[in-house]
């Protein structure tokens, strides 16, 4: 795409196409309704006393209390929390280090490495799941926490890497030069000058890695055992059986948490601009 000659301000359509404008707006509103209606309905019915959730009866927190008292669900939540935390930490370490090296140095194979990093982001999860399952079986390693965490790090860290890399592109190379000139070792320059500049991107990447891990079903499905079952695995099992008001409550918690996450990471993005 050719670059615009001047930084022309975004222009509105020529007046003849007003109608198209209105249609577009209407359509967008409709699609937003389609995206949100099921979610809103789900949250609304999580407060409904009726078991067969057709009629809105009276307001209750009973289903939330049931979730809170459900042993297996709580254990699954603990597992999810543990797995997401560990894989986020590992993803941040791998992703930040990798981004710096891909950004900062030139060497043979750098381009292929960049392509290879993108593969876990777009590779179908089921393929990653079965190939890791086969790997662990071949290596004689049992399934469980370690296997699940390895899987989660594999698909999460490229997202951290890309986020950090984008931030690095906007960074002034003179900062590192200045640090080196003032006598810092390259490692000091990286840890004391570069990393603090990258903080918003690292936090955003970490949030992304955490959410990806927290929500992930498919790769986990192939690498988990009964003891390390995560929340999505339990939810999948419950949803297969059918309707369950407890699931409404659990889903509502998920949805609210996700919305909070999106708002927070948006706030971080604004900070890093």
């Amino acid at each position: 795409m050719p670059a615009p000659l001047t930084a022309a301000p975004r222009r509105r359509f020529p007046s003849g196409i007003r109608l198209v404008d209105y249609t577009l707006t209407g359509w967008t509103a409709l699609v937003m309704g389609f995206l949100y209606l099921p979610i809103i309905v789900l949250v609304a019915y999580s407060f409904n006393r009726s078991r067969l959730n057709i009629v809105l009866e009276s307001f209750t927190f009973a289903w939330y209390q049931r979730v809170w008292e459900n042993g297996p669900l709580l254990r699954a939540a603990q597992n999810s929390l543990l797995i997401a935390t560990v894989s986020t930490v590992l993803s941040v370490l791998l992703g930040t280090g990798g981004a710096w090296l891909l950004h900062r140095y030139r060497y043979r194979g750098a381009r292929s490495l960049q392509t290879l990093v993108a593969v876990p982001m777009v590779m179908p999860e089921i393929l990653m799941g079965i190939s890791l399952l086969i790997l662990f079986a071949t290596a004689g390693m049992g399934l469980g926490f370690t296997a699940v965490i390895i899987g989660h790090v594999t698909f999460s860290f490229p997202f951290v890497l890309v986020a950090v890399q984008a931030r690095l592109k906007g960074l002034d190379p003179a900062m590192e030069e200045a640090a080196l000139d003032l006598g810092a070792t390259p490692l000091q320059a990286f840890m004391l000058v570069i990393v603090p500049c990258l903080r918003p991107a690292i936090v955003a990447g970490a949030l992304m890695a955490f959410t990806l891990s927290w929500d992930e079903l498919i790769v986990t499905f192939f690498t988990t055992n009964a003891a390390s079952a995560t929340l999505p695995i339990r939810v999948f099992g419950m949803a297969k059986v059918g309707l369950n008001p407890m699931l409404n409550a659990l889903s509502a918690i998920f949805i609210v948490a996700t919305a909070a996450f999106v708002l927070f990471s948006n706030y971080l993005k604004k900070l890093s601009r």
């Binding site: 795409m1 359509f13 699609v31 309905v41 990798g98 030139r106 393929l127 390259p186 998920f254």
Partner: protein
């Protein structure tokens, strides 16, 4: 081939330290992406004994079975479902992405946030939301019953329609966001120039806007089509076992039937399909970075 520093001033950098930062990532990618894929390919040429253990040998039997009409049909059906899902997502999502991309700055941010929430909400939760709506004792039927109590309850769940609804609902935000990325970069002056040169609105759309936003469409297709082909959870939940897609068959080979070599062969064929789609979409201008919202 040690990394040569970009900035000449720090040519004294001990190179091995730089490699120390990179080595874990390279090792991780090789160990958990390259090697597993290679083993998957090896397995697809192996046999299994009666109890499901893998015997290392060389046979094309698994691939011959993949070519069996039963499995070919499932493959084609999966591609059909995923293709239909992708097309619906483009048709439904493109105008939305365009509208967001051309909106005023403050509205753009708000609308974008609105798309982000479903984008980041687990597809499992969002699929479950549709179960509560479509099930026989679900909301849609309840609603119909309230309007006309004599109406017979119908079951939309466990039908192909339900599967497509589930897939579209799950993947629509993954189409809107990359297209939005392309629309946002669109230069309004080019559109006006086309108008000035006498092109009608349709002509402008088909010869200027579509080609310029093709990278977004390609990236969205990559994010929707490929995962939709291999999806088994949504088809399980929304289609019951009635509409098996290739993901369900692969999952079954690994976890129930325990025929890993055959499952690996199915996986390898799917991998080929994935690579082909990836290549075509890159040619159309998709960037892997676009997949990050």
């Amino acid at each position: 081939m040690s990394p040569a520093p970009v900035i000449p001033t720090d040519s004294r950098t001990p190179h091995w330290r730089a490699w120390l930062l990179l080595a874990p990532m390279v090792a991780w990618l090789v160990l958990f992406v390259v090697v597993p894929t290679a083993i998957l390919l090896v397995y697809s040429f192996c046999e299994r004994d009666e109890v499901g253990r893998v015997l290392f040998s060389f046979t094309l039997e698994n691939y011959r079975r993949v070519a069996d009409p039963v499995y070919l049909r499932i493959f084609l059906r999966s591609i059909g479902y995923a293709g239909l899902t992708t097309i619906i997502c483009i048709v439904v999502g493109y105008p939305v992405a365009y509208c967001i991309g051309r909106a005023r700055e403050d509205w753009r941010q708000r609308l974008l946030l609105l798309v982000m929430v479903p984008f980041w909400t687990s597809f499992l939760i969002r699929t479950y939301a549709w179960i509560t709506i479509l099930k026989q004792e679900g909301l849609l039927n309840g609603f119909v019953q309230q309007l006309s109590p004599t109406a017979k309850p119908f079951d939309l769940l466990y039908t192909p329609t339900a599967v497509v609804i589930g897939l579209v609902y799950a993947y629509l935000p993954f189409m809107i966001l990359p297209i939005y990325g392309s629309v946002e970069k669109l230069d309004g002056a080019l559109i006006e120039a086309a108008h000035d040169l006498g092109a009608g609105p349709l002509r402008v759309f088909s010869s200027v806007i579509i080609p310029l936003t093709m990278p977004g469409i390609a990236a969205g297709t990559l994010l929707v089509f490929v995962p939709a082909v291999g999806m088994f959870a949504i088809t399980d939940l929304m289609g019951g076992a009635r509409v098996p897609l290739i993901g369900n068959v692969i999952q079954n080979q690994f976890l129930q039937a325990r025929d890993w070599p055959f499952g690996a062969a199915l996986g390898a064929v799917f991998m080929g399909l994935f690579a082909l789609t990836y290549w075509i979409m890159l040619k159309l201008g998709a960037h892997s970075e676009d997949s990050v919202a």
